[in-house]
C-alpha cells in the first residue's frame, strides 16, 4: 500500500511546492524593496483583469502547453528532453517555409499545413539525439542541449542569409501572405461594436493545444503504444523482457516530444509574429520543463500549469512596466518551481508521507 493517498500525491505535493516557490519569490521581491502583495495585485489585474490581459495569458499558455506536453511525453519514457527550445525553433522554420512558399487558399488549410510542417521539423530535430541515445548510448540530455545551440546557430545563419528578403536589414523572414493569417481571439469573439481581446495575440492555435492535450492523454493511457512508453519508463529491462523494443520507444517518444515542441510554432510564428524572427521561442522550450514537472506529466496538469505560467508571464510583463521589478523575476519564479517540484521533491514528500503514516497508525490504533 502506498504511504499516501493518491490525491495527496497529485494535488497536495505540487501545491506545497508551489507555495514554497511563491514564498521565496515574495521574499526576493521584499528584499529588493517592493511589496509582494502589491506585485501580486498588479499581476492579477494585468493578466486576468481584462480580455486583453487574458488574450496574452492564453497566448503564452498555448506555447507552454505544447512545450509542457513535449517534456511530459519524454518523461513518461524516462527521458529528459531539454531540447524543446531547439525543436520549437526548428518547428518555426518549418512553419515559415510552408507559409512563405506554398500559396494557401484558406487559413484552415494553412493551419493544417503549418501544424504538420512544425511537427515534422520538430520531430526531425529530436530524432537525431534520439537515434544517438538509442543506438550509440549518447546521453540524451547532453545531445539535446547541444542541439539547442546548433539550432540557434542554424536559424541565425538562415535568417541573415537565405531566408532574409532582399534589401531588408533585419534578421527575419518576410511577412507571411495574408491567407496564412490565423484568426485571433479578437477576430473570433468580437461581436458588433464590442471588441474583445483587442490587440492580444491569442489565436486559434489555443484550441489546437487543447486538442493536443486530449490526444496526448489518449495516447498515453488508452493505446498500446502509450502503455509501452510507460512500461519502458518504469523499467526498461522489464519492458525489454516483455518484447518492447527500446530503440522503437526511444525514437517514437522523442519524436512525438519534438513534434509537440515544434508545434508551438503555429502559435508564436504563424499566429503571432506572422514571420520568423531571431529568438522567436524566447525560452518557452525551457518553461516546458517547469510546466511538465508542475503538472506531474499529466496533460490536464500540464494544461493547468501552462495557464499558471501564462499568467506569470503576462503578469510579469505588467510588473516590469509599472514597478521596478524586472521581467527576469519570472525566470526566478520558474527556477524555484523547477527546483521544488523537480529536484527537491523528496524534501516535501518524505515529511508528508510521515504525516500520513502517523495519521493512519492513529486511526488503526483507535479501531
Amino acid at each position: 500500500m502506498d504511504a499516501m493517498p493518491k490525491w495527496a500525491d497529485v494535488v497536495l505535493i505540487p501545491l506545497i511546492s508551489l507555495i514554497l516557490a511563491a514564498t521565496l519569490s515574495a521574499l526576493v521581491i521584499l528584499a529588493i524593496g517592493e511589496s509582494p502583495v502589491e506585485a501580486l495585485n498588479l499581476m492579477v489585474k494585468g493578466a486576468l483583469g481584462s480580455t486583453y490581459g487574458w488574450g496574452y495569458t492564453l497566448y503564452y499558455a498555448t506555447n507552454f502547453i505544447f512545450t509542457g506536453l513535449a517534456v511530459s511525453i519524454a518523461f513518461h519514457a524516462r527521458m529528459f528532453n531539454i531540447g524543446g527550445e531547439g525543436q520549437a525553433m526548428v518547428g518555426g522554420l518549418g512553419v515559415a517555409l510552408i507559409c512563405l512558399y506554398i500559396p494557401w487558399p484558406h487559413w484552415s488549410l494553412a493551419l493544417l499545413g503549418g501544424t504538420i510542417a512544425a511537427a515534422l521539423f520538430g520531430a526531425a530535430w529530436a530524432a537525431i539525439p534520439a537515434f544517438l541515445q538509442a543506438k550509440r548510448g549518447s546521453h540524451i540530455v547532453i545531445t539535446t542541449i547541444m542541439f539547442n545551440f546548433i539550432a540557434a546557430a542554424m536559424l541565425n545563419y538562415l535568417l541573415i542569409g537565405a531566408l532574409k528578403p532582399k534589401g531588408s536589414m533585419e534578421p527575419a523572414t518576410g511577412k507571411f501572405p495574408e491567407a496564412t493569417h490565423l484568426p485571433s481571439f479578437q477576430d473570433m469573439f468580437s461581436f458588433g461594436e464590442t471588441a474583445l481581446f483587442r490587440g492580444a495575440p491569442a489565436n486559434v492555435s489555443f484550441f489546437v493545444a487543447i486538442l493536443a492535450c486530449i490526444a496526448v492523454w489518449a495516447l498515453i493511457w488508452k493505446t498500446k503504444l502509450g502503455y509501452e512508453i510507460r512500461a519502458f519508463g518504469h523499467s526498461d529491462t522489464a519492458a525489454k523482457y516483455a518484447g518492447i523494443s527500446p530503440t522503437k520507444i526511444i525514437m517514437i517518444s522523442m519524436m512525438i516530444s519534438g513534434g509537440l515542441a515544434g508545434m508551438m510554432a503555429i502559435n508564436n510564428v504563424q499566429g503571432e509574429a506572422e514571420r520568423l524572427v531571431l529568438n522567436a521561442v524566447e525560452g518557452a522550450g525551457f518553461i516546458g520543463i517547469a510546466v511538465a514537472l508542475m503538472g506531474r506529466s499529466h496533460p490536464f496538469g500540464v494544461f493547468l500549469a501552462a495557464l499558471l505560467f501564462g499568467f506569470l508571464y503576462q503578469g510579469g510583463a505588467e510588473l516590469a512596466l509599472w514597478t521596478k521589478i524586472p521581467r527576469e523575476m519570472i525566470v526566478v519564479i520558474q527556477a524555484l518551481v523547477i527546483l521544488f517540484t523537480g529536484a527537491l521533491d523528496d524534501m516535501v514528500r518524505v515529511p508528508l508521507e510521515r504525516v500520513f503514516l502517523a495519521l493512519r497508525r492513529r486511526k488503526g490504533g483507535a479501531a
Partner: protein, 322 residues
C-alpha cells in the same frame, strides 16, 4: 599572415579558454564523484555578478573574487542538497540553478545599481590587471621567442595562471592522493566506498563544493578580468561548452586543458573574420565556428571518434542499503 597576428589569436585563445578550463575542471570534480552538473553555467553567472558587484563596491578585485566564489558555493550547496541529501534528479536541479542565476543576477543587479541589470564599469584595482612576467620587457626584442614570451606567456591576469595551475593540481589530487582515489571510486561504485567505511555523502559534498569554488573563479574571471563589468547572461553558454569539453576530454584533467584550448581557439578564431579569410581564402561562417564545439561533442558522444564513457554511477543518487 605574420607572427604578431598568430600571437594575437593565440593570446585571445588563452584568455577565452581560461573560463572554460576552470568550469571544465569544476565539472570534472563533480562528475567524477557521480554528481552530474549542468548548472556550471548558472554558477559562473552568479559568481560573475557578485564578484563584479562586490569588486565595484569594495574597490578590490580579490574581495570580488571571494564574493564570486561565495555566490557559486551557495548554488553548489543547493545542488548538493537536492542531489545528495534529498536524492532528487541532478539534471533537473542543474536546470533550476541555471535559471535561478539567470533571473536573480538581473533582478538583484537592477535593484542594486539601477543600470538595467548590469554593474557599473570596473576600473583600477577593482579589476584583475595583466601581470608582466619577469624579463618580459627585456626579452621582447629577441626574435621569435621574445614576442612569444612577451605576448603569449606573459601579460595575462593572475586568474589565467591560477587556472593553468589547477590542471596539474587536479591531476595530482585525483590520481595521487587518497582523497582523489576515493572521489573517483564514489563516482564509479559508491556502494564499495560505503562498504569501506567512508562516507559517500561527505565525499560527494566535497566534490560539489570544489566544483563551486572553481566555477566561482571562472565567473569572477569573466566579469573582473576578461571584461570589466557584469552584463546580463554574460556567461553566454560557456558552462555548456565546458560540459562539452569535459566529455571531449573524457573526464580527464590534462585532456580537459587541451579540449578547452581547442574550444577557446575556435572562439578566438570566430572573433577574427579577417584572419579566417586570409587563412582559408574564403569567408568561413562565424556561426559555424561558434557551434563547432557542440557539433564536435555530439560526434564524440556518438562514439565515432573514440568512446566517451562517463563515470558509472553518475547521475544516480546513492541509497544506503537498509
Amino acid at each position: 599572415m605574420d607572427l604578431s597576428t598568430i600571437l594575437q589569436v593565440l593570446d585571445s585563445t588563452v584568455r577565452l579558454a581560461t573560463p572554460l578550463l576552470l568550469a571544465c575542471l569544476a565539472g570534472l570534480f563533480s562528475e567524477r564523484a557521480g554528481i552530474f552538473d549542468i548548472g556550471l553555467e548558472g554558477k559562473m553567472l552568479a559568481a560573475a555578478f557578485l564578484s563584479a558587484a562586490v569588486a565595484y563596491t569594495s574597490g578590490s578585485a580579490w574581495v570580488g573574487l571571494g564574493a564570486g566564489i561565495f555566490a557559486s558555493l551557495l548554488l553548489s550547496g543547493i545542488h548538493g542538497l537536492a542531489s545528495i541529501t534529498f536524492r532528487g534528479n541532478q539534471l533537473i536541479s542543474g536546470v533550476a540553478i541555471n535559471f535561478l542565476a539567470a533571473g536573480l543576477t538581473v533582478v538583484v543587479a537592477q535593484s542594486w545599481f539601477g543600470q538595467g541589470g548590469r554593474t557599473p564599469q570596473l576600473a583600477g584595482s577593482a579589476r584583475f590587471e595583466p601581470i608582466t612576467l619577469p624579463f618580459a620587457d627585456a626579452l621582447r626584442e629577441v626574435p621569435v621567442l621574445g614576442p612569444i614570451y612577451y605576448e603569449l606567456i606573459s601579460g595575462h591576469t593572475a586568474l589565467v595562471y591560477i587556472a593553468l595551475l589547477f590542471v596539474p593540481l587536479t591531476w595530482w589530487v585525483l590520481y595521487r592522493t587518497r582523497f582523489g582515489l576515493r572521489l573517483r571510486a564514489v563516482g564509479e561504485n559508491p556502494a564499495a566506498v560505503d562498504t569501506a567505511g567512508i562516507s559517500v555523502v561527505w565525499l560527494r559534498y566535497m566534490a560539489v563544493l570544489i566544483c563551486g569554488v572553481l566555477c566561482g573563479i571562472a565567473g569572477a574571471y569573466l566579469a573582473t578580468a576578461l571584461q570589466a563589468s557584469f552584463v546580463k547572461d554574460m556567461s553566454a553558454g560557456r558552462g555548456y561548452i565546458a560540459l562539452a569539453a569535459l566529455i571531449f576530454a573524457k573526464w580527464r584533467p590534462w585532456y580537459a586543458l587541451y579540449a578547452c584550448l581547442l574550444f577557446g581557439f575556435l572562439q578566438a578564431f570566430a572573433l577574427r573574420p579577417d584572419v579566417i579569410q586570409t587563412v582559408f581564402g574564403f569567408k568561413v561562417n562565424a556561426q559555424l565556428l561558434d557551434v563547432l564545439p557542440y557539433i564536435l561533442t555530439v560526434i564524440i558522444l556518438a562514439g565515432f571518434v573514440g568512446k566517451a564513457v562517463p563515470p558509472r554511477a553518475g547521475g544516480q543518487p546513492y541509497v544506503k542499503e537498509r
